[in-house]
């Protein structure tokens, strides 16, 4: 069992504590912005308006009471690059959100997009002791999965059981209480670079916050921007962030694959900056105001003043046509999407029953992106926005916040992970006191 495995257990305890207290913050540490939302949990009965599942598929047990976004600093490719700067940016966001909520938050759930996630499919099977599957059996079958050698300096970020099979029956969500002889399970394991995670943990600790959970932003954007049938039948969520583009594939409501392409909107901005010889801030402004990926005849005539402050009149009065701008942006966007295509091909995305692709994240707001994406990724492409959650400010409902909103949903309804189950007794050291305690607990 690794270090992060233990700390994941600790995080789950933190999360429970935060739920008891009713307030938790979520922190999306991205390359271009850091978003902090403060959630208040009032219990599920508070918002359930009548019978049935309740509004928003029962996911409305919380309410956003504080929201703040700040420009990210010191983050590159979704990884912390300059720690002091990132810490300051996190402090800014957290303080503003606290101020809006008028509440102090101590527990935070964070997500990040970088750290080179790698997916592994694991499987394991055991013979059941008695024929009924108990919770302990689930823990044992999860422990029986062969963990591949993912190398030094890698940590497990997610380890989610995605499928259980009992004898010849497969595709079970919950095998507990069912009768059979052999229990098998498939698990999706997502590993990330340990140092990146350590840096993020350290930054959050420096802000006097307790980490109550950690998630991959590709995963949480998938939760928030894929609708239920897409999650069920198979879909890929492409979260086009600033420094990294996350890819997550969902099937039967479980994430079965996640990856990230280390390119994003910042690279497009950098291309514009280089191509037009303008500062990065101007390039960002030009990109957001005039950007696009499909040039039309009209775009040749639309001239954009790109400005400058050198004092040289000719230099400062430069203009560029929108077609030229699109000519700069398009190759980079194509490159990103082709990279995504390669990752999806590697994941075997074409074998899924439905091959819906959902583009989300701040980069997905480029006009004409869906047309370009459908040429590269396939016909079933749509632009996704995050689910609406209660109390979220209008400014934070755009696709750039799908990670943050997904993290809210993740906080409210976390997926069962490996560490949510008790460690099977035989995994403890032979002379452990804990083992004795467990034995007593199990037998009385």
């Amino acid at each position: 069992m690794t270090d992060l495995y233990q700390s994941q257990r600790a995080m789950r305890r933190m999360r429970k504590q935060a739920m008891d207290r009713g307030v938790i913050a979520i922190l999306d540490v991205g390359t271009s912005k850091i978003a902090c939302l403060v959630l208040r949990f009032d219990g599920p009965e508070r918002f359930s308006g009548g019978d049935g599942v309740g509004s928003l598929a029962g996911q409305s047990s919380f309410r956003v009471i504080g929201a703040a976004t700040t420009r990210s600093r010191g983050v590159r490719f979704g990884e912390i690059d300059a720690m002091q700067e990132t810490e300051r940016a996190i402090r800014t966001a957290v303080q503003a959100a606290q101020k809006m909520a008028n509440l102090r938050v101590d527990h935070v759930i964070a997500c990040m997009s970088g750290a080179q996630p790698r997916s592994y499919g694991l499987d394991g099977e055991i013979d059941l002791v008695d024929s009924v599957v108990s919770e302990d059996d689930v823990a044992r079958v999860l422990a029986a999965c062969d963990v591949p050698d993912f190398g030094d300096g890698r940590e497990v970020l997610h380890a989610q059981p995605v499928n259980f099979a009992l004898d010849h029956r497969s595709g079970m969500n919950d095998p507990r209480g069912q009768i059979g002889n052999r229990l098998a399970c498939d698990m999706h394991l997502l590993t990330v670079d340990a140092h990146v995670v350590q840096n993020l943990l350290y930054c959050i600790k420096r802000c006097d916050l307790e980490l109550a959970g950690l998630a991959s932003s590709a995963y949480v954007s998938g939760i928030s921007s894929l609708v239920e049938d897409e999650q069920e039948l198979g879909a890929a969520c492409i979260d086009m962030g600033g420094g990294a583009t996350g890819v997550s594939v969902f099937m039967k409501k479980h994430m079965i694959y996640a990856d990230s392409v280390r390119m994003g909107g910042d690279h497009v901005t950098a291309d514009i900056s280089k191509g037009l010889q303008v500062p990065l801030s101007t390039a960002e402004r030009i990109k957001t105001f005039y950007g696009g990926v499909v040039a039309t005849g009209m775009d040749d005539r639309e001239m954009i003043e790109i400005g400058g402050d050198t004092g040289d009149y000719e230099h400062d009065r430069r203009t560029v046509s929108r077609a030229e701008l699109i000519g700069i942006m398009r190759p980079r966007v194509e490159e990103i999407l082709e990279d995504v295509r390669a990752r999806l091909d590697a994941a075997g995305f074409e074998h899924l029953p439905s091959q819906q692709i959902v583009l989300t994240g701040g980069g997905s707001q480029i006009p004409g992106l869906d047309g370009l994406a459908s040429r590269i990724l396939g016909q079933q492409v749509r632009l996704g926005r995050p689910l609406r959650v209660q109390g979220l400010p209008q400014a934070a409902t755009g696709p750039a916040f799908s990670g943050a909103v997904g993290l809210c949903l993740f906080a409210a309804h976390p997926q069962d992970e490996w560490w949510d189950f008790e460690i099977p007794a035989e995994r403890y050291p032979a002379k452990s006191l804990k083992r004795a305690v467990r034995w007593f607990k199990d037998n009385w």
Binding site: T70, E85, R88, R91, T92, V94, Q95, R104, C207, D208
Partner: protein, 295 residues
């Protein structure tokens, strides 16, 4: 890489410093916040008041200011009582009341102890009930219910007027001052005035001859008529006994005869006591009768 040496701040950093961040979090802590917003001001206030009042002289000054203020309000003309009006009291009682309630008007109504004054007035013998009221216009209204003397009691100390309940009303100089009132005498007679009045009422047919009632041994009554005739009445059923005597008198003119006393103490055996002359006369008459018979 960022410059390691302290970079000069080119622009204002939007990020809060660690200190500002921590202070903000501290400020958002509910306990700390309530302590600072409620606890600290209240502590300061209590401390300041306590410190101010710690000095004896200041306390006294404060008390003085307070009492002056109180005095000023009490002595406003609206609260002043300028005269006392006494209703239902005769001239003498009026004087008595004014004597025992010595007030030098004008006086503030806050200073009047009405209940105490009422108790003092009720202490007067001649007063049956008293009501005190401060009427608008600064008038102390005293409503008196006087005791009405119904009987004169001749006690060992002299003559006294009693009301119907035997309560002392006033001393009396001479019997002739109030010839209209009946007279009772004897120790303990004042405790049985009601019975005495009933007897006097019953003795109305004898009114012309009635001298008074005497309480004998603090247990029964004697009716005293003129010519020193007495009707000795029992302890219980005195009125009925008296009525029997009166009936006898009306039938036989008994009391007109030379009797000294009619003893009704034993109802089964009424007894007449005749005067010695009458006995002598009777004896003589009897002797004559017997002599005549013999002779």
């Amino acid at each position: 890489m960022q410059p390691v040496a302290a970079p000069e701040p080119a622009k204002r950093d939007p990020a809060p410093t660690r200190l500002a961040y921590r202070l903000h979090r501290l400020w958002l802590t509910p306990l700390f916040r309530s302590l600072l917003r409620v606890g600290l001001p209240s502590f300061c206030m209590v401390f300041a008041v306590g410190w101010y009042l710690a000095d004896q002289q200041r306390r006294e000054e404060l008390g003085l200011v307070f009492s002056d203020l109180r005095r000023a309000i009490e002595e406003r003309p609206e609260f002043m009582v300028k005269l006392m009006a006494i209703d239902g009291a005769s001239g003498e009682l009026d004087q008595d009341i004014r004597e025992i309630v010595p007030l030098d008007f004008p006086v503030s109504s806050f200073d009047l102890e009405l209940e105490e004054m009422r108790r003092a007035i009720l202490g007067l013998d001649a007063v049956a009930g008293a009501g005190l009221q401060i009427r608008p216009g600064g008038i102390l209204q005293v409503s008196i219910q006087e005791r009405i003397p119904t009987v004169i009691w001749r006690s060992r100390d002299g003559l006294e007027l009693l009301d119907g309940e035997g309560h002392r009303v006033a001393p009396l100089g001479a019997r002739t001052d109030r010839p209209d009132l009946p007279l009772i005498a004897g120790d303990g007679a004042d405790a049985q005035v009601a019975e005495a009045l009933a007897l006097i009422e019953a003795a109305r047919p004898l009114a012309g001859r009635l001298r008074g009632l005497v309480r004998m041994g603090e247990r029964r009554w004697d009716v005293v008529l003129d010519r020193d005739q007495r009707i000795l009445l029992p302890e219980r059923g005195a009125v009925e006994a008296l009525e029997r005597v009166i009936a006898l008198d009306q039938a036989e003119d008994m009391l007109e005869r030379d009797l000294m006393a009619v003893d009704m103490r034993n109802a089964d055996r009424p007894t007449l006591r005749m005067s010695p002359e009458a006995v002598e006369e009777l004896r003589r008459v009897k002797t004559l009768e017997t002599g005549a018979i013999k002779g």
